[in-house]
């Protein structure tokens, strides 16, 4: 017959074993994913993945896409290429040039 303190000590050891097993399972999953997915994928969370608070997150700005401004809706022209004679397209755009200054 086992005395009470010894039985309780063994119960505690059993519970410690359960706890260690639970941590080991989590660590095994994590290590496996780290190896298969890579450090980048494991550590860095893509914007929007897993996080969906109702409030607008203003911490990084990476996760949110601000609404386009009017100026952004209008396509930004390509930087002018110096040429000796303007092409017909450039000539026809001439009177809108002020928008892009």
């Amino acid at each position: 017959m086992i005395d009470r303190p010894a039985r309780r000590r063994r119960a505690k050891q059993l519970l410690d074993g359960v706890t260690v097993a639970c941590v080991a399972v989590a660590m095994a999953i994590g290590t496996g994913q780290l190896v298969t997915e890579g450090v980048q994928e494991f550590i860095f969370r893509p914007p929007g993945v897993g996080s969906s608070a109702s409030e607008v997150d203003t911490s990084t700005g990476a996760a949110e896409v601000p609404p386009p401004q009017t100026a952004e809706i209008i396509p930004t022209p390509a930087p002018p290429v110096p040429s000796a004679s303007p092409s017909p397209i450039e000539r026809s755009r001439g009177h809108h040039a002020g928008h892009y200054r």
């Binding site: 119960a11 941590v23 989590a26 969370r45 897993g50």
Partner: protein, 267 residues
């Protein structure tokens, strides 16, 4: 689930009148009923998914973390609040809720992780293990849920007698879970929104667990001393707690009602 072993799972009110006892029992059942809320909110989407309706699985995938994840944390906080409420007020009627909320937290977290593992393939491509441990924040959540296993196994009287004086040290694992849950939320949200709310609700609960603070409050309450100081401190603690708790409840209400209507918020 942690608490004073001698009265961890008792609702006895030796000095209370029958009227107070009835009110206490009513309060206990009210707070127990609240534990059904997350399951009720998720039920329509889960039923749709089981019945194979279009968007059923996608809706569960969109709602599970918001509804069950937030619910798990709120239940955890309610469980942690039991002891400070006793320290501040001296009430005993609610002590049984510590066990009930601990067990409910485990089942809510387990349901969360099960649904996440089976339905979030659209967000986390890969196998089941990727969905429960493919990112650091997922792993922290999974570890928190697994650490609840020894706590829930021992959340009963036979286990209390079986472990004797060791029972309390096993239940101290709650504090480790507290840490891993906060890490999970930090990895998810960074120093914003829900993580800050989590810190706000945690701060008063942690403060009231500091042994000198707890002892001072207990002795002052028993002796009826420092009434004004205790009243002001209670007001401050409740205000800080509410600053974090109310937005979390609002979050659950918004996402939960959308999930119940099967129109999950996609953000």
């Amino acid at each position: 689930m942690i608490g004073n072993q001698a009265h961890a799972y008792t609702t006895s009110l030796p000095e209370d009148s029958a009227g107070h006892h009835d009110l206490g029992e009513l309060g206990v059942w009210f707070f127990r009923a609240l534990l059904l809320v997350p399951f009720v909110l998720m039920a329509p989407e889960v039923m749709s998914a089981i019945l194979g309706r279009p968007d059923g699985v996608a809706n569960v995938s969109a709602s599970v973390a918001d509804v069950l994840g937030t619910s798990t944390f709120l239940i955890f906080i309610m469980m942690l609040a039991v002891t400070p409420v006793r320290t501040i007020t001296g009430w005993r009627w609610h002590l049984i809720l510590r066990r009930d909320y601990g067990i409910a937290m485990f089942f809510t977290a387990a349901t969360d992780i099960t649904l996440a593992a089976t339905t979030t393939g659209d967000t986390f491509p890969g196998g089941v293990l990727t969905r429960v441990g493919g990112h650091t924040f997922l792993l922290a959540g999974t570890l928190s849920t697994l650490l609840l296993v020894p706590l829930v196994i021992t959340a009963n009287r036979p286990a209390q007698q079986w472990l004797g004086r060791h029972w309390k040290s096993v239940q101290r694992l709650t504090y480790v879970v507290w840490g891993t849950v906060l890490i999970h939320l930090f990895l998810l949200f960074g120093l914003t929104t829900i993580f800050l709310f989590a810190l706000a609700v945690s701060a008063p609960l942690a403060l009231m667990r500091i042994p000198p603070v707890r002892r001072w409050w207990d002795s002052a309450r028993r002796a009826g001393r420092h009434r004004a100081l205790r009243a002001v401190a209670t007001a401050v603690l409740v205000a800080v707690f509410a600053a974090g708790y109310v937005p979390l409840v609002q979050e659950l209400a918004a996402k939960g009602s959308a999930a119940f209507a099967q129109q999950p918020v996609l953000d």
